[in-house]
């Protein structure tokens, strides 16, 4: 197992390096940042000076070499837009997103497991129909739409929640709610589907013959056998959020990594793009390793 972990970590390191290389070269195909940083009416001389100042005048491979040597010194470059270390920009934004992602995913996973399981226990029953309808409606509603409507209703109309921003618990409610919609909807369906098959397994009959409560049959026996796809999908959704809850972050003014990423991409702030990708990629790789280990914990038959 340690062996596996070791291999896994070294492969991941290689992949991250590959990822950064890919990002480095591909982003440089997306146009000249000087056009974006300087005012429209600045002179060609000013543009040349800008390029020189930021090392953009050198051939790409030289820039890449510089990038690598800097990287080996743990220097991730300066943000052109923010006049400071790109990594510190990324590291400042990341916890904000992580907090949101963790809360939203924990809540939606737990809720989805409970509701999906109950729905699967009586398929096509009233609860199943209502739960499916609501969760699907949430999952297919455009999130910015929901976000804006929520603000119009709860902040402007009723005046019970702040419109946006960061602060006390009131500030969390709407962003978390909007963030949860899709993960919750998807997870409910995945849980329900997986539970439907586990619940027909013979070992469920054993559990019934043992006189277990319905609760421990559904949540103890069937659920445990359904968890593999559930945690996989939950993991994927988490990475989706870690990569940036762009809509929620920009609508609610949450200074997270998604907003940072998109601003930097649009502004061609290459160093920040690279640093944010490095940070999120690390988180995602760690998450994936954890999920793979979790498979083996959850199902003793899984082996690597």
């Amino acid at each position: 197992m340690l062996n596996y972990l070791g291999r896994r970590v070294s492969y991941s390191a290689i992949s991250i390096l590959g990822l950064l290389t890919l990002v480095f070269f591909l982003t440089r195909l997306t146009g000249d940042p000087s056009a974006l940083y300087l005012p429209l009416d600045s002179t060609p001389e000013a543009r040349a000076a800008f390029a020189q100042l930021n090392g953009l005048d050198q051939p790409t491979y030289v820039q890449f070499w510089n990038f690598l040597t800097d990287l080996s010194r743990l220097d991730f470059g300066e943000s052109m837009r923010q006049n400071r270390s790109a990594m510190s920009v990324a590291l400042e934004a990341f916890p904000q997103t992580l907090k949101l992602a963790v809360v939203a995913m924990t809540l939606s996973t737990i809720l989805a497991i409970v509701i999906g399981s109950i729905a699967a226990a009586r398929p096509r029953g009233v609860f199943d129909r209502i739960a499916s309808f609501l969760s699907l409606a949430g999952a297919s509603a455009p999130d910015f739409w929901v976000a804006i409507v929520a603000i119009l209703v709860f902040s402007v109309g009723l005046g019970i929640l702040p419109t946006s921003g960061t602060g006390g618990w009131q500030y969390w409610i709407m962003p978390i709610f909007v963030l949860m919609l899709r993960p919750f909807g998807l997870l409910v369906q995945v849980v329900r589907g997986a539970m439907l098959s586990s619940l027909t397994s013979p070992y469920i009959k054993t559990a019934r013959a043992k006189g277990l409560s319905r609760h421990s049959i559904v949540f103890g026996h069937a659920l445990r056998n359904s968890l593999l796809p559930v945690i996989t999908v939950a993991g994927d959704l988490t990475t989706g959020l870690i990569n940036g809850a762009v809509i929620v972050e920009s609508v609610f003014g949450w200074p997270g990594i998604g907003k940072l990423m998109i601003d930097s991409i649009i502004q061609r702030d290459f160093a920040v793009v690279q640093s944010t990708i490095l940070v999120t990629a690390l988180a995602i790789f760690i998450l994936n390793i954890m999920i793979d280990l979790l498979y083996a914990v959850l199902d003793p038959r899984v082996r690597y």
């Binding site: 197992m1 027909t200 397994s201 013979p202 070992y203 009959k205 054993t206 559990a207 019934r208 013959a209 043992k210 006189g211 277990l212 409560s213 319905r214 421990s216 103890g220 026996h221 445990r224 056998n225 083996a296 914990v297 959850l298 199902d299 003793p300 038959r301 899984v302 082996r303």
Partner: protein, 545 residues
């Protein structure tokens, strides 16, 4: 059939399975009862509704698609068909418990066996935590699992067939219920362990006054346990009565056929049903085969090894049948699975027609797998739940394109099903819609479909009633005679190997303790374990008493 002391009483039970077609009647007007301290043995044809009718007692027939058309189930006078879920839970597992026929499928693969047994204590509020664990270890010991302190933290897939069956038994007797329904509880157990289990059940009966409903195909076991017997055929009870009467003067034709079909060792041994001689050609040679399983309960713990197969060597000639008998958990299935290259041997070699199986190239392996087929000990698990019987049986034709032309598949499937005693309409059903014995026959049909040279049968006939068992054995013998098939026949049923095998290998704790031709082995067993095994054959109860 009313009895004042009847603790469990079933009257006029009729169960259908519904679908788009006509309903399938699995149980038809079945009535029986059992009293405290009594053993009722249900004998019957495979697929006659034994499992379904007893499952109905536990409310385990899913309705729909099941449909309890009529019938009355009473436990201590209470109507079990109309009780609430709470009351049901207080009965299941505590007052009435059940030992299922197919132990692997019925154990939850992701929990340790210890936890699954302890759960019985916990859910009925008897014990929890450490106490429950101690109880569990004790139970495992009682059903004869070695090193229970260690094994308690293993998962079901790490046990042998017989061990799993004993785990099911442990689970069922945990709370010493008033009624135990044992569906084929000893099919995977060798005679000595079987004796131990039967003793255990008898003890419980004596101490607790427990009532036992036992479904079995093994007439010896039936005779040794039964107070009363009912015999079922095609969903109906065809005969019921006191054990001795049924065994000694059966009235119904089926019962008579059943008792007649019993292979009485002495009678058949000499003939051995062999018509042709064994070829000189060595088909399979096994050299010093060793298998170590990593002994860990989780994915993370250290690497202690369990030697399941310890230096096993033998050979099989063309046209020969090698019987393998031995203690439950002695490594028989492990040997079989290694021969099929389902997992790697730790060391040793096996040669098929002179070629090392473990080093075969892809093409060679393909040819090998066409010629060597295996019938798994656990037939339900070995079939894809999403494939119907037609697809299951015709699979080897799809894999090896040259066996049967596609146009003939339908007809050939029907032929094969009929050979093993199933009906043509079964071809469109799915594995979960069959009884234990029926599944086993599907597995046999599947193995025979590819026209193999060597068939490895791991408890291939254990779930079959004697008459069908005889039919299948006849079929196998016929194939051996006509086509020169060879068999490796792993079984606990000494009577069957005795009639069928040319040579017998006896295994104990991973080692071969004796390997001899059948006649010699039965007449003069040389190893102590063999002697113990032979001596363990059960005695009819009415004689013992």
């Amino acid at each position: 059939m009313t009895d004042k002391h009847a603790i469990l009483e079933i009257a006029g039970l009729t169960v259908d399975f519904l679908s788009d077609d006509e309903p399938v009647r699995a149980v038809d007007e079945v009535s029986f009862h059992v009293c405290r301290g009594e053993t009722l043995v249900i004998l019957g044809e495979s697929g006659s509704g034994k499992s379904v009718s007893t499952s109905a007692v536990m409310d385990l027939v899913d309705c729909p698609p099941g449909d309890i058309v009529a019938g009355d189930i009473r436990f201590e006078g209470r109507d079990l068909r109309n009780i609430g879920p709470e009351a049901r839970r207080s009965i299941n597992g505590c007052k009435i418990s059940m030992i299922f026929q197919d132990p692997l499928a019925y154990l939850n693969p992701v929990y340790t066996v210890g936890r699954q047994i302890a759960e019985v204590f916990e859910s009925h509020g008897v014990a929890r935590g450490e106490v429950a664990r101690r109880h569990t270890i004790e139970l495992l010991r009682r059903v004869g699992i070695r090193e229970p302190e260690l094994r308690i933290d293993f998962y079901p897939h790490q046990f042998s067939g017989g061990q799993r069956q004993r785990i099911m038994i442990a689970m069922a007797i945990a709370l010493e219920p008033d009624v135990i329904i044992a569906d084929e509880p000893t099919t995977a157990l060798d005679l000595s362990v079987q004796a131990q289990i039967l003793d255990l059940l008898r003890d419980l009966q004596r101490e607790q006054g427990m009532a036992l409903i036992m479904i079995t195909h093994d007439l010896d076991v039936a005779a040794s346990m039964a107070d009363r017997v009912i015999v079922m055929k095609a969903g109906k009870v065809v005969e019921a009565g006191v054990a001795k009467d049924v065994f000694t003067c059966p009235r119904h034709a089926y019962t008579r056929a059943l008792i007649a079909a019993l292979p009485h060792g002495d009678a058949v041994e000499s003939s051995n049903k062999r018509a042709t001689s064994i070829g000189d050609e060595v088909l399979l040679r096994v050299d010093h085969l060793i298998k170590d399983y990593p002994l860990s309960s989780g994915a993370f713990k250290s690497k202690r090894l369990l030697r399941a197969v310890d230096d096993v060597s033998f050979s099989v000639h063309k046209g020969e049948t090698l019987g393998i008998v031995g203690e439950s958990g002695s490594g028989k299935s492990s040997v079989a699975r290694m021969l099929l290259r389902l997992f790697d041997a730790s060391s040793g070699a096996a040669y098929y027609r002179g070629r090392n199986i473990f080093e075969m190239e892809r093409r060679e392996l393909l040819a090998f797998r066409r010629n060597v087929q295996m019938i798994f000990q656990d037939p339900f698990g070995s079939m894809n739940p999403r494939m119907n019987v037609r697809e299951i049986v015709s699979e080897s034709w799809a894999i090896h394109g040259d066996i049967v032309p596609k146009a003939l598949w339908r007809d050939k499937v029907v032929d094969l099903l009929e050979l093993v005693g199933l009906k043509p309409e079964h071809a469109d059903r799915y594995p979960h819609q069959f009884s234990g014995g029926q599944r086993q026959r599907i597995a046999i049909a599947r193995a025979l479909a590819s026209e193999p040279e060597l068939v490895v049968c791991d408890e291939a006939v254990s779930a079959l009633d004697v008459s069908i068992q005889a039919q299948i054995v006849d079929l196998l013998v016929d194939l051996r005679t006509r086509l020169g098939l060879s068999y490796i026949f792993i079984t606990h049923d000494l009577a069957v190997v005795r009639t069928f095998a040319d040579r017998i290998m006896v295994m104990e704790q991973g080692k071969v303790v004796e390997l001899n031709d059948t006649a010699t082995l039965f007449s003069s067993p040389s190893h102590e374990y063999t002697r113990k095994l032979l001596a363990a054959a059960p005695q009819p109860k009415w004689l013992a008493a």
